[in-house]
Amino acid sequence: MIVLVKQDWTADKLMQDAEGGGKKRGRAAGGWIDDIAAQKKVITLCPLCTNKFNPARVHYRKEKEFPVCQAKCDGCSTFDSHCSWYIYDELYTQVRSTADERRALAKSRAARIKRGYL
């Protein structure tokens, strides 16, 4: 006899199923993160792991406008709602629009309007 158990797919389960595998079993976390950094991928680290990572050494930039993100920690493979996230410096301006950037543009706009040409 075959018992068929229907899987109840929720949006949460779909997201969880689609996630990448993360660190291989038995692999040291530092080595794994160095590998990710060498590949210039985004790095997410939980509060316990984030202090062990030096972003400047590998040309990464810590996201400060959103000090936390919800992600699986690349160090300990635990989903944490208070992760820090790091983006490779050269990619940062291509994927993030910051308030500072928009503020500078708004100031420039006001100055140009004063000059009479936008």
Partner: protein, 235 residues
């Protein structure tokens, strides 16, 4: 296209998904089709159906030294990239003209309008139709001011209901086929910028939440993901 903020002021949620093909950072990715190798595929210039979110990296192969691409070679780097998946994320993109994304075409007033209810320039606002889009001045008495376009009856003439100050021959202005609350924009071929020269409500199901109306090379649009996979019934 850049991640700017969330409608709910919540924190970003970052997932790492497997790619079905080469991807660039700063583009919207969609759910892979049935039978595809990975979990996410690239969107197109006119469709983001089943969007998963915005890719924030594209990886660099340790072996090849170039971007990681989808590979079926045993032992090759797996193409797993970070994606911001918030359904309410707001993306900021530059408004441009043309498929490859040059500055928005600036037009010049050729017939003055004393009542400020029309703008008459040298290029057509009727085809592609800019009705319900937006017009803003970049010089003259109305510099920095914008209005919704409410009619484009004559080819080179657009009409507004809330009058501008009287314009003069030689004043310059810009217009775009986008406006607040409208759904549908067409992207450039690199999927990073929004075309302002396409008729209103044409293309991918982004919804427009804000506009930054500056010069021809630095005007931006804020978008939400209308075709999000997390908010709709899967097909």
């Amino acid at each position: 296209m850049k991640y700017a903020y969330n409608l709910s002021s919540s924190t970003p949620i970052i997932k790492k998904y497997k790619a079905s093909a080469a991807l660039a950072e700063g583009i919207v990715v969609i759910k892979s089709a049935a039978g595809a190798s990975g979990q996410m595929s690239t969107s197109t210039t006119t469709s983001i159906a089943n969007a998963l979110g915005l890719v924030v990296d594209n990886g660099l192969s340790l072996a090849a030294g170039g971007p990681i691409t989808y590979s079926t070679t045993q032992g090759a780097d797996e193409a797993v990239f970070g994606v911001i998946v918030n359904p309410d994320q707001v993306l900021r993109a530059q408004m441009v003209t043309g498929a490859t994304g040059t500055s928005i075409t600036q037009d010049t007033i050729v017939t003055a309008s004393s009542n400020g209810l029309t703008f008459v320039g040298g290029t057509s606002v009727a085809s592609p139709d800019m009705d319900e889009g937006i017009v803003w001045y970049t010089s003259g008495a109305n510099v920095g001011k914008s209005r919704k376009i409410t009619s484009t009856g004559a080819t080179v003439t657009g009409t507004v209901i809330v009058p501008f100050a009287a314009n003069a021959v030689g004043d310059t202005y810009l217009y775009a086929g986008v406006n607040i609350g409208l759904q549908g924009v067409t992207l450039t071929t690199d999927l990073k910028n929004v075309r302002a020269d396409i008729a209103v409500s044409t293309g991918a199901t982004f919804s427009i939440i804000d506009l930054e109306l500056n010069g021809s090379a630095d005007s931006f649009i804020h978008l939400t993901l209308g075709g999000n996979a997390w908010l709709q019934v899967q097909s």
